[in-house]
Symmetry: C2
Subunit: 329 residues, 2 copies
């Protein structure tokens, strides 16, 4: 298995990707092609000893920064790690592509270069989220912020295949995110998506609300990319805010400080459960290829797990199942 | 000050409203008109001694249930507590209306019966949310799930008046919720709203993201009612899920249990800070009247605070300021 890794993606810089690549080589034995500034990458590799048998480097001198406009930067920076990396995949010289870089740019470059799967109109980013009942998948979290109803139906088909073959759920339940459970709720666009999903052979259980997501009431949550993006960022920030406020209060009080030390054993498994780095990256579903998107603030472990997901995605041939299901569901 | 209170609204039943009304009478001295099933209300009043000098009862035998379709139920149940209560306001026999009932039905009935303020096209629910920096206002959280750009601009004008006169913020900052900070981000509808807000004299600081909300980066957060509704429900559920998971972990371990007891002193002020019942109800802004919406699971304290907000809303004549600002902002 050979995975292309954008070595200029994450906010923390190339050292994260190089470290993640080395961990993936050690743990899974996959081959990694690091794409980015050759000098920087080699320096990071040298620091960590030599893995040149399993790790190769392809030079790409440009970097698409996090806040660059997606379409424009992809058009202009043909020598960026994202564009060069996806070209390797396009030439079928690798099995998958992983990037923790500018999500919009990855979506744009992947769509332009790899094209869509037959029958799929728009890509969607599917992210695994921790819930009370295990792991659910939310799609889309930002590939397509203004989708049509048919796209939401296709998200259902794609996330269904992903849940079955990567998350090993036999018959995943699907919920459509709405402002109420009744069929009549929501905008025209959402009601139309409800109709399409109801008519399908997918395991669609109807509308769900914001409060159902983390309870884990469905295995798959379908929403438009605008809403999904906001949900992800709000969720991260709620937890962050809570922890910061709690730390502030704890610091005021010696009894509470002792309490914090004693309770920390209970926080640890919780932290592991809520830790997105455990789940690896989020696949960009719908494109004719294997493209995994990581969080901008990925750690080496998150990169390693994203590489694992890319390899599994290829091995399970998720795209083949999506194409098959599109005809039968 | 005379406030009409829907006594059949909250999920927990009339006892909550009656208790909240009594607390408001004691604390603020306002007069309360309880609207709902006379027998039930009087029984609850009798249990708590007599407050008939300050509390009167208007009989309304019907109840609009939480999951009834809004428009239909308002049309059919003319004798419901919501419709009867708003009629009292319409006849100018009271200064404000408070309900913890079916939000959609309140919005629909208030819009039909009280009509919009001159120049305002659609109503918006403005909710006060706790942040790292104090309290911010998010508008809209569900009155209008498919707004136009001009409505979002008008939300800005309305929330600005509310923040100034009820939350005492001299020149509140306004952010437009989007998937990125750059002007070019978002759907056409959001970009259009960005242009309208930019051209206005409001203190608009640009796009904000989901992660900015609870940090308190702006005093006002503008979003469409679909997104706002989802955000509220997701936020509640993230905290709920965290607490439940933590309790589960704590129960496994005696050391952690002791820690939980010791740390609880730090949780208390945090709980107070995050407690929505402290902030009272959420005004339905834009209608030609004074209508405060409470959470379905309101406690008596939440009802009491909603009554307080209703009285302040009237006293400060927020609607007058909205109309003035609409012409000058």
């Amino acid at each position: 298995m050979k995975i292309v890794l954008d070595a200029m993606g994450s906010e923390m810089g190339t050292s994260v990707e190089v470290e993640g690549a080395i961990q993936a080589v050690k743990e899974y034995g996959h081959e990694i092609i690091l794409v980015g500034d050759e000098t920087v990458i080699k320096k990071e590799l040298d620091k960590r000893g030599h893995y040149h048998g399993k790790i190769s480097v392809v030079h790409a001198p440009e970097r698409i920064e996090m806040h660059e406009p997606a379409a424009l930067s992809v058009r202009r920076k043909r020598k960026s790690s994202i564009v060069v990396g996806l070209d390797i995949l396009k030439r079928e010289e690798a099995d998958g592509f992983v990037s923790a870089g500018n999500t919009g740019a990855v979506v744009c470059a992947a769509t332009l270069s790899l094209r869509m799967l037959p029958g799929i109109e728009r890509p969607g980013i599917a992210i695994a989220i921790p819930t009370m009942r295990g792991v659910s998948v939310m799609i889309d979290v930002g590939a397509n912020i203004d989708p049509k109803a048919i796209h939401l139906f296709q998200y259902g088909v794609m996330a269904n295949a992903y849940s079955r073959y990567i998350l090993n759920k036999a018959n995943p339940t699907i919920g459509l995110l709405n402002v109420g459970e009744e069929e009549s709720k929501g905008t025209e666009f959402i009601r139309e998506a409800h109709t399409l999903l109801s008519k399908s052979k997918l395991n669609f259980i109807g509308n769900i609300e914001g409060r159902d997501i983390y309870v884990g009431n469905t295995d798959i949550i379908i929403c438009d990319g605008f809403v999904g993006n906001v949900i992800l960022k709000v969720s991260e920030s709620v937890i962050d805010t809570l922890v910061k406020l709690l730390k502030k209060e704890v610091a005021k009080n010696i009894i509470a400080m002792i309490g914090a030390v004693l309770i920390s054993t209970a926080f640890k498994p919780l932290k592991k459960k809520m830790d997105y780095t455990e789940y690896g990256g989020a696949p960009l579903l719908g494109i004719d290829g294997n493209c995994i998107i990581g969080h901008g603030s990925s750690t080496p472990k998150a990169i390693k797990n994203a590489i694992r997901v890319a390899a599994e995605f290829k091995k399970q041939d998720v795209n083949k199942h999506i194409i098959e299901d599109l005809e039968t569901k």
